[in-house]
């Protein structure tokens, strides 16, 4: 009888070890390339234009078809692919959460904000000193990819009806080179005629050298053709824009003199007071210039008592005015004269990166928050551009590459950060 008591726990242990299905160790095809997939198609359906797609997809890599020629799966299935979060990092930002878990209490069904996201797949190694674990290993070479519009339910793709599984919105072939890092995004090309497409960017930052004294910012415009009538395009960024930058640091002297109740007081860093940072022309570019912004001495990040300063607390009243250095970008239409006076779109990079995705994205954008009346002077909030870490025991800012992607009236932020576990970065 004793031996049975030994067998039972052993069996239970064996069962307990298998918590989830892992991704395939290898996929057929060439040597690995690295792929990350986003969906940035805005929700643009209106009763007057309801023929467009609902931007909630199943992503299929090397799709497999059933006997009727309808997709039934693929070598990679990125299911429940919702709109990406406003802020993400170069590692899986939500890795503590289960696959398909909604991080938004308003979303009751399964959702992933990117592929691979939390999927258990082999990830990219550190390249050029960057942590790239949010990119999945995929075989290089030519591959067909599909984005299929699917319901926002918990039903996995393979169990959906044939009618739904054949709702292919994007069908294209991508060519991946071994060892390269790619970001693939489902984009809208024309909201008025409901045209969509895939945008594939071979990331350049793995081949460039960056100074440890700076953080870098690179901008891409992934907007489709402008639409004058679709609410999803209200307050869009122009096709050609001047990007000005003001780099603020907190002014304790003025603040103390005026009392903290009246707000917070900032001064611009010399050389970064509404300075022209770059001009961004056209859309869907796959390369950009990564522009340096200095990392301020660490004393700027601490107050007079030696306490680490605060991020701006969005929507939480005066008590949460920020005190950390922060960057404001101002976007103006480069084709109009008048420059800065022309009601720029202002984006304040001053929120806590750990908290920004807790806020509904539309609330952080005055256009989508307040309606068409806020067409001019719109303000948006984004995460701080500074990468703070206490990796060495003291919180300080580290070099990083901040990739900003503009999609109509929204700006998405992806921070590429050093691989801290790689000793060369210590």
């Amino acid at each position: 009888m004793k031996k049975y008591f030994a067998i039972v726990p052993a069996l239970l242990l064996l069962v307990a070890c298998r918590k989830y299905a892992e991704g395939p160790a290898t996929l057929s095809g060439g040597a690995p390339a690295y792929l990350r997939v986003f969906n940035v198609i805005p929700f643009a359906l209106t009763p007057f234009n309801s023929a467009g797609t609902t931007p909630f997809f199943t992503f299929l890599f090397d799709p497999q078809m059933d006997a009727q020629g309808i997709p039934k799966g693929g070598a990679i299935v990125g299911d429940f692919l919702g709109t990406r979060q406003l802020y993400c990092t170069s590692y899986s930002i939500n890795e503590g959460n289960g696959l398909n878990a909604s991080l938004d209490t308003a979303v009751k069904t399964a959702i992933n904000y990117e592929y691979p996201g939390e999927a258990h797949v082999l990830a990219a190694p550190p390249i050029n000193g960057f942590d790239l674990s949010a990119w999945a290993q995929v075989p290089s070479g030519k591959h067909r990819v599909l984005f299929i519009s699917r319901p926002q339910t918990d039903t996995p793709f393979a169990s959906l009806s044939g009618t739904i599984r054949k709702s292919i919105v994007i069908d294209t072939t991508i060519d991946l080179q071994a060892g390269e890092v790619y970001t693939l995004e489902a984009v809208a090309k024309n909201l008025d005629s409901n045209l969509y497409g895939a945008y594939l960017r071979q990331e350049q930052f793995i081949h460039q050298s960056f100074s440890d004294s700076n953080m870098y910012v690179g901008l891409f415009n992934l907007s489709g053709k402008p639409s004058a009538i679709n609410p999803a395009a209200t307050g869009s960024y122009p096709d050609s824009m001047d990007v000005n930058c003001t780099y603020y640091y907190f002014d304790d002297i003025s603040n103390n003199a005026n009392g903290s109740s009246s707000g917070s007081f900032y001064l611009p860093v010399p050389g970064f007071n509404n300075a022209l940072l770059t001009t961004l022309n056209g859309t869907m570019a796959t390369t950009t210039q990564y522009l340096p912004l200095p990392i301020l001495p660490n004393s700027y990040n601490y107050d007079e008592q030696g306490i680490f300063r605060k991020y701006y607390g969005y929507g939480q009243g005066n008590s949460t005015y920020g005190t950390l250095p922060n960057i404001h970008l101002y976007f103006t239409n480069a084709n109009l004269s008048g420059g800065f006076s022309l009601n720029p779109i202002e984006v304040d990079f001053d929120l806590d990166p750990a908290l920004i995705n807790d806020v509904q994205p539309y609330l952080l954008n005055s256009v989508t928050n307040q309606g068409i009346s806020a067409h001019n002077n719109q303000t948006q909030f984004q995460a701080s551009m500074s990468l703070f870490s206490n990796f060495t025991g003291t919180i300080r800012a580290y070099p990083c590459v901040n990739v900003l992607e503009i999609v109509y009236n929204t700006i998405y932020f992806m921070r590429i950060q050093p691989a801290f576990y790689n000793t060369t970065n210590r």
Partner: protein
């Protein structure tokens, strides 16, 4: 050993099937015959011989208006059905039969998914799209709208098909938006205006076109007569005065508004790129619009403009009757 057995058994979960109005042992025909609430539809099927179509093993989906639904169209008895021409009745009832097993979950989660009835005419199935502006959150996975009609009881499964119980009988599509407007006298002033401003001919084209048609009372309120509309000089007035009611390409059912989700004071729609509409909830308190509780704020109207003749489907679009004007002539003088 017993423990191992129990452990093994506990891994197999038996799927529990909830009882529903239909059972897998019933057929479409036997289910209709055994439900008194479906007696009028059953009668109409048998009278037209369409019961033979659904009697075999081939799967069909029946869109069944129950007796209450027929009552909403003033059909209360088989005698009322007998008053209808049999040929018309066959086309009408046939429009409620769709090949295949169409459950709510099998329909794409968007609006106006086309399905063909056995008569060869198109039906438009819609499901609510989840999102921040979606107010139909309770039981959202069971909500189905067909041609703007609501399915009250979804997914009754039987051995050879599925039954979706409708709130009202479906309206049989007429030839065109133009034909519908011409055939309904309450739109005669509007028709005169459309003709005068060169907007009439497109309404018999391929479409799809949606017309928000003000009835004659809307014009009478402003003392606009058919004669005065006919005499309106198009050199004096912008065509926008009447093109605002014509949306193309679009096929809009009223349920599209709640199904897509419309934010109050935030959503603006343009018809023919000439005019933006906003749709408000009746309570006007802000926030999001309640489903089924829309009105169009008629400019200059004494009361909010409301729907009066809903979801009149045609082969090239839809007519939505409204009881107010969006613009009065004085607002569109060149």
């Amino acid at each position: 050993m017993i423990l191992i057995g129990l452990a093994a058994a506990s891994c197999t979960k038996t799927e529990v099937i909830s009882p529903s109005l239909g059972t897998i042992h019933q057929t479409l025909v036997s289910n209709l015959e055994s439900n008194y609430a479906f007696s009028l539809f059953d009668y109409a099927l048998k009278k037209t011989g369409l019961n033979q179509v659904i009697a075999g093993q081939t799967a069909y989906t029946l869109l069944v208006p129950d007796n209450d639904a027929f009552g909403r169209d003033s059909i209360f008895s088989t005698a009322d059905l007998d008053k209808l021409d049999t040929g018309y009745l066959r086309r009408w009832i046939g429009y409620h039969i769709v090949p295949g097993n169409i459950t709510v979950a099998s329909v794409s989660q968007t609006v106006n998914n086309p399905y063909l009835s056995v008569t060869g005419q198109t039906l438009y199935f819609s499901r609510p799209i989840p999102g921040p502006a979606q107010r139909q959150t309770a039981g959202i996975d069971e909500i189905l709208h067909i041609n703007g009609d609501t399915v009250n009881t979804p997914d009754i499964s039987v051995s050879n098909g599925t039954i979706q119980v409708l709130n009202r009988p479906l309206r049989l599509p007429v030839a065109s938006v133009q034909a519908y407007l011409a055939a309904n006298a309450q739109y005669s002033v509007f028709v005169t205006a459309l003709k005068n401003f060169g907007l009439w001919d497109q309404l018999s084209g391929p479409g799809p076109v949606t017309v928000f048609a003000p009835d004659n009372n809307s014009f009478a309120y402003y003392h606009i007569t058919p004669d005065s509309v006919a005499r309106m000089d198009t050199n004096t007035y912008y065509v926008n005065l009447f093109s605002v009611y014509v949306s193309t390409p679009s096929r809009i059912f009223i349920t599209d508004f709640p199904d897509i989700g419309v934010g109050n004071f935030q959503s603006y729609y343009t018809i023919n790129n000439v005019y933006s509409w906003s749709l408000y909830s009746n309570n006007g308190t802000g926030g999001l619009v309640d489903p089924g509780n829309f009105y169009i704020p008629g400019i200059g109207s004494p009361e909010p403009t409301t729907w009066t003749d809903e979801n009149a489907i045609t082969l090239n679009g839809v007519v939505q009757g409204i009881d107010g004007l969006l613009w009065v002539p004085g607002q569109q003088i060149k």
